[in-house]
């Protein structure tokens, strides 16, 4: 079975990459073609995840996901017409510089000729998308100092989501925004 792979070096710790890769509720935010994703079951280092793709039929695919903390995330296809047998994310390196690799092993299936499905889990695109997603996270610090260093130019506005609320910097001044009570309880304000 053919295997396609792509790698990149990212400036963050392995724990962050692992957390993003095992957060199956959030794949729609960043993995190309995924419009919805969720964890069906999770026990220890094993999870069953479901991805819905942006195809006309809104195809859903289930994966058996095997995790090795901060090192590897392996997906094996469970049924469906996906021309992919498995996808393996590996994380190597330490400190704030890691290499992440995606190796996708194909299998013959008529689904490979269908638009949409055939482009799912393109290693190069997925690695690029992962890099974008990782870039949204701050370095772990005890205080939510979101100042960006080594940035050319004057920082006008910056927004970040933290446990303390939304931190907003406007021309170097810091503000902390909290959700309104009705928003906290799930209601939307008009």
């Amino acid at each position: 079975m053919p295997t396609r792979r792509s790698s990149a070096t990212v400036a963050c710790d392995a724990g962050l990459i692992y957390d993003v890769l095992t957060d199956y509720e959030s794949y729609a935010e960043w993995l190309p073609l995924v419009v919805q994703s969720k964890t069906l079951a999770r026990e220890g280092d094993l999870a069953i995840a479901e991805f819905e793709l942006a195809t006309r039929q809104k195809d859903k695919f289930d994966f058996e996901c095997i995790h090795t903390r901060n090192k590897m995330v392996l997906w094996r296809t469970l049924g469906g017409r996906l021309p992919i047998a498995q996808a393996e994310w590996t994380i190597t390196g330490s400190g704030n510089s890691c290499e992440v690799t995606l190796a996708v092993t194909g299998r013959f299936h008529w689904g490979q000729f269908l638009p949409g499905v055939s482009g799912f889990l393109n290693p190069k695109q997925c690695i690029k998308a992962l890099q974008s997603q990782l870039s949204t996270f701050m370095p772990e610090t005890s205080t939510p100092d979101i100042a960006i260093r080594n940035e050319a130019g004057e920082r006008i506005l910056e927004l970040a989501e933290t446990e303390d609320g939304i931190i907003c910097w406007i021309r170097g001044k810091k503000y902390i925004l909290q959700p309104e009570p009705e928003a906290r309880s799930g209601g939307a304000s008009q």
């Binding site: 962050l16 969720k38 026990e43 058996e64 701050m138 931190i167």
Partner: protein, 188 residues
Amino acid sequence: MIKAVINVPAPRAAVFQVLSDFPRYKEWVPGCEACSVNSQSGSTTETTITINSMKRIELGLRFDAQPDTALAFKMIKGKDLKAYSGTYRLMDAADGMGTVVIAELEIDVGMMAPRFMVDKITRKMMDDTGVAIRAHIQKMGIQAAPVAKPAAAPTRRHRARRLLRVTKTSAGYSVWLMGETHEVKSAN
């Protein structure tokens, strides 16, 4: 090996009970005409099962159980198939309201039919089994009860996350939004 995920809105123990109640297979397993227990020793049960689907076949099947967790089966006797084996693995649904069954089935009919055709039939059998077990459990009046969820693993939700950054540069503005950078040049 054909794999499938079956969502069953019932507690794991109840689903396992249905899967390991072999004499009652004829009540719900598609095409099953009879299933009798020949012997039982510890977690191993040997049965004879008659299935009338594309063709009427009789198989000797050995089941190995891990209570509430997994049930493996393998053909030990039969003239019609070369091999027949599989597993049912059970996990609590992440939403706490049911069971996720990961079913695996391998059928080898030898030279009788091409592989792709056997796989297609196997896939349909698994889909039908999923529908049948859900219907059987509903008929029995078993309902999903919320189960205590294990403590969730730490996720990125606990990490600070940058959403937007606007920087004024000599050429104009640089807008970084959720991982993508857009350059905005000054009009003059």
